[in-house]
């Protein structure tokens, strides 16, 4: 490496890209130096993904210039980009599950001797690549379908390493990883960085960016609106750049008064998890459940809501015993659930916003119990305005919305139903900061209620892996450890550190 550090490895200047009438990129500038980790941040729909697809050759730019190592860079396709050393790791991993880790790593670059596969060299290359990403103990012949999500991601990075990548793009790489895997990934990113690889790191999690990245570039509405050195710009400025306005307080918290208990769990157990969940939820309260992934938090909500079988214990609603029942009965009791997985469970993607929003509560939308589509749309309209949900109207299919707006539809369903108890499972996972702020504001509003408008305070139970969020919005937090739910204690007594300790079972004193 004789190049001076000052000469950028990759530059992007004035890149534009349109899809039909939509201008997805309106002139983007970016520079990337060797051995640098650049954070690319922006709300969903800001154009990050489009930019990365242009960079990795999946889309051709309409206009603008790119250069790699001083030479013009115009990838003809993803394969061409790879061969030039620009590799992309998508959020949805792109591995063939029925092939081995080795075969996946070598896909497209198979070493051959004459017309035959050179298996000896293949194993050697795969071994070296796997070692480099830290999978030293993994047999290259293991089928990808037998690997964990984290291991699959590393195999995919190994694939990039095997072709000698110079620029590695990671699109929200931590969205489905556990805390420990995240640390391993960070260590790997730092190793690659030390070897001179330039990394573009796309993430919504600002604390990840602070921990890992050197510089940041912010995109909004298809343009780069700001850039800077991580640590020199306060977080609220970055958020303001992303959202395009100042967000006064991400976690609003009005004075709340806890009312009568509305939901009580008494050593509730599921088929396997939870083993024992006891909790009292009152009107006017936001209670959080923290814990590791797989500790039984989601299962608690699902058993309570009748989506999973109940194995034991009691559920009391408004002071009365509510025996195990299906979701239909729970909705009727005024309980609503927002699924952690809005894509495959929470929303019917090809149905309209209005259809999704009213599905649990089709009453009163026409004479004689009939349902009039126009009334469905009319019922959705106030929520679309109030949230607000960015869309072309209630008739638009949910699949056309951004993740944040989809999530608002999923939550609005509970508001349309006028639920008294809101069970929210990872309500802000993978959505942009602007939508997060709006959802937090709504949670606060619901917990406070509006006596003037005759709206009684609601009770909210939130499961989240994002600790700042729980600490920010909850009145009390309980921690789940291996299927057992601890006592819900006032939020003032918790810190991120103590929550992590409790989640990993090291908080025996409590």
């Amino acid at each position: 490496m004789t190049d001076s550090a000052a000469a950028p490895l990759l530059t992007v200047h004035g890149v534009r890209k349109a899809f039909g009438a939509t201008q997805a990129l309106k002139g983007v500038d970016l520079t990337l130096a060797r051995g640098e980790v650049l954070a690319l941040i922006g709300e969903n729909g800001a154009g990050k993904s489009t930019l990365m697809k242009v960079l990795s050759g999946a889309h051709a730019a309409d206009d603008g210039e790119m250069s790699l190592e001083g030479a013009p860079y115009r990838p003809a396709g993803p394969l061409h980009a790879r061969s030039l050393g620009v590799c992309m790791i998508y959020q949805e991993l792109a591995l063939a599950p029925h092939l081995s880790a080795m075969e996946n790593i070598l896909l497209g670059i198979e070493p051959t001797r004459g017309p035959f596969m050179d298996w000896g060299r293949a194993r050697e290359i795969a071994r070296r690549a796997l070692d480099e990403v830290g999978l030293t103990a993994l047999d290259p012949a293991t089928l990808v379908e037998d690997l964990s999500i984290a291991e699959r991601q590393l195999v995919e990075i190994a694939r990039a390493v095997a072709v000698g990548c110079k620029v590695l793009v990671l699109d929200e790489p931590t969205s489905s990883l556990t805390q420990r895997d995240v640390q391993a990934l960070f260590a790997l990113v730092r190793r690659l960085k030390a070897r001179g690889v330039a990394i573009v790191y796309i993430s919504h999690a600002l604390e990840e960016i602070e921990a890992l990245c050197d510089r940041f570039t912010v995109m909004r509405d298809g343009e780069t609106v700001g850039a800077g050195v991580v640590g020199q710009v306060p977080v609220h400025r970055i958020i303001a750049l992303m959202v395009g306005r100042e967000v006064a307080d991400l976690y609003p918290r009005s004075p709340r008064v806890a009312g009568e208990p509305i939901l009580e769990l008494k050593t509730l157990a599921g088929a396997k998890f939870p083993r024992a969940a006891s909790l009292t939820l009152r009107r006017g309260e936001v209670v959080g459940i923290a814990g590791l992934i797989g500790s039984g938090r989601t299962e608690t909500l699902r058993a309570l809501f009748g989506l999973d079988p109940v194995g034991g214990g009691e559920i009391h609603v408004r002071g009365r015993l509510a025996p195990p029942a299906g979701p239909g009965a729970r909705w009727a009791q005024g309980i609503g659930l927002v699924s952690e997985d809005r894509k495959t469970e929470g929303l019917a993607q090809n149905l309209s916003i209005a259809e999704n929003l009213t599905l649990s509560h089709l009453d009163g939308l026409g004479p004689w119990g009939l349902v009039r589509p126009s009334r469905q749309n009319a019922a959705a309209e106030p929520w679309i305005k109030a949230f607000p949900i960015k869309c072309q109207g209630g008739e638009q299919p949910v699949e056309a919305l951004s993740g944040g707006n989809q999530q608002k539809v999923a939550i609005a369903r509970l508001l349309h139903h006028d639920c008294d108890v809101l069970l929210l499972d990872e309500p802000t996972r993978g959505i942009d900061v602007g939508s997060k702020a709006q959802i937090y504001a709504w949670i606060d509003k619901l917990a406070v209620g509006d006596p003037a408008a005759g709206k009684a305070p609601k009770a909210v139970l939130v499961v989240s892996s994002y600790l700042p969020e729980l600490l920010g919005i909850c009145d009390r937090i309980a921690v789940m450890t291996r299927g057992v739910l601890g006592e819900a204690r006032p939020v003032a007594g918790w810190t991120e550190h103590s929550l992590m300790l409790a989640a990993t079972g090291q908080d025996q004193a409590a």
Partner: protein, 341 residues
């Protein structure tokens, strides 16, 4: 009739389908040799009869497909319903048939029995799909074979010829093949029945709670469960409705054949019926489909089959054309969908 796309795009889709229908009709009207009489009254009559059977069964199939299912047993259910109708009308000893004594009641009983049998097949389909959690393709592949077998068993592997007086009863006149005019007010009774059933079903899908639940179930079953939709009950009902329409189509088929029961008829009919729904815009992934579209699809399928014969195309050419039309229709639909989102 799904509440999906914007109104303007819905109208556009409909116009596109109508244009395709007109194009197919015009193609044969112009190219068929004049002597073959594609546009003659007699042939129009024949096509109306064929359309009635396919369209009636396709109404039920559309509901099943919207709910995310498939019913391969439709053709066999049509045959079994037809055989049941013939069997009931043929009850009684030779020379002293029951139908002679009860010329009004017995046809009604025959229809009730036919529908009862096919609804029961639908119930089995739905119940097995729900309780065994096996994909509907496999379950209905099984019931297709079984229903066909029962049809042959009931008919004793022969055609059933009910007594001659049945020919003059209303049940045979639903679609009287001997008349070369459209009869009743303008169209055969069966065509009116289909129109009525289509209208009713379209309104049912659009305006009832069960209708909205069917779309939700087909679009995403997990979401339906989450939102408290009684999924098991809805699914079983959907297949029963599918069976109901197959049964009605079987009664029409009985009339179409000249009031006889042939256990080996309507083989492979489920494919025409599915094709009608798919050409009409129903998605085999569920959650999407309209009755009006399916009706247009049924017209296109029938015109293609009839026109191919009139053109003197050999069987294989007809099959190739039919297959190509299905693929092209679905491909165009897919491209439009992708263009929108």
């Amino acid at each position: 009739m799904s509440a999906l796309p914007k109104k303007s795009s819905r109208v556009l889709t409909l116009l596109g389908r109508l244009a395709a229908l007109a194009a197919v009709y015009a193609f044969f009207a112009i190219l068929t040799p004049a002597g073959k009489g594609f546009t003659s009254d007699a042939n129009t009559q024949l096509m109306l009869q064929d359309i009635s059977v396919v369209a009636m069964a396709a109404i039920g199939m559309t509901i099943v497909i919207i709910a995310g299912g498939i019913d391969l047993s439709a053709g066999s259910a049509i045959a079994l319903a037809m055989i049941t109708t013939a069997y009931v009308l043929d009850l009684g000893p030779e020379g002293n048939k029951l139908v002679t004594a009860h010329p009004v009641l017995l046809p009604l009983g025959a229809v009730a029995a036919a529908i009862g049998v096919s609804v029961f097949i639908g119930f089995l389909n739905g119940a097995l799909v729900t309780w065994l959690r096996i994909v509907p393709f496999i379950i209905t592949l099984g019931s297709m074979q079984m229903a066909r077998g029962f049809a042959k068993l009931v008919a004793n592997e022969q055609n059933i010829y009910p007594p001659a007086e049945v020919q003059d009863l209303w049940i045979a006149r639903l679609l009287d093949p001997s008349k070369n005019l459209y009869t009743w007010p303008f169209l055969p009774v069966a065509v009116w029945l289909v129109i009525g059933a289509a209208l009713f079903t379209a309104l049912f899908l659009r305006y009832t709670r069960l209708g909205r639940h069917i779309f939700a179930l087909g679009s995403n079953e997990k979401t339906a469960v989450l939102c408290g939709v009684p999924v098991a009950r809805t699914k079983i009902l959907v297949y029963m409705i599918g069976g109901l329409f197959s049964g009605l189509a079987g009664v029409l088929f009985f009339a179409r054949l000249g009031a006889i029961g042939q256990p080996t008829e309507a083989i492979g009919y489920e494919l025409f019926v599915i094709a009608a729904a798919v050409i009409g815009g129903a998605s085999l992934l569920g959650g999407r489909g309209t009755i009006l579209g399916t009706m247009i699809g049924a017209l296109i399928i029938t015109i293609l089959r009839n026109g191919g014969v009139k053109m003197g195309w050999p069987q294989y050419t007809q099959e190739i054309v039919m297959g190509a039309v299905i693929v092209v229709a679905v491909a165009i639909d897919n491209l439009r969908q992708r263009g929108r989102t």
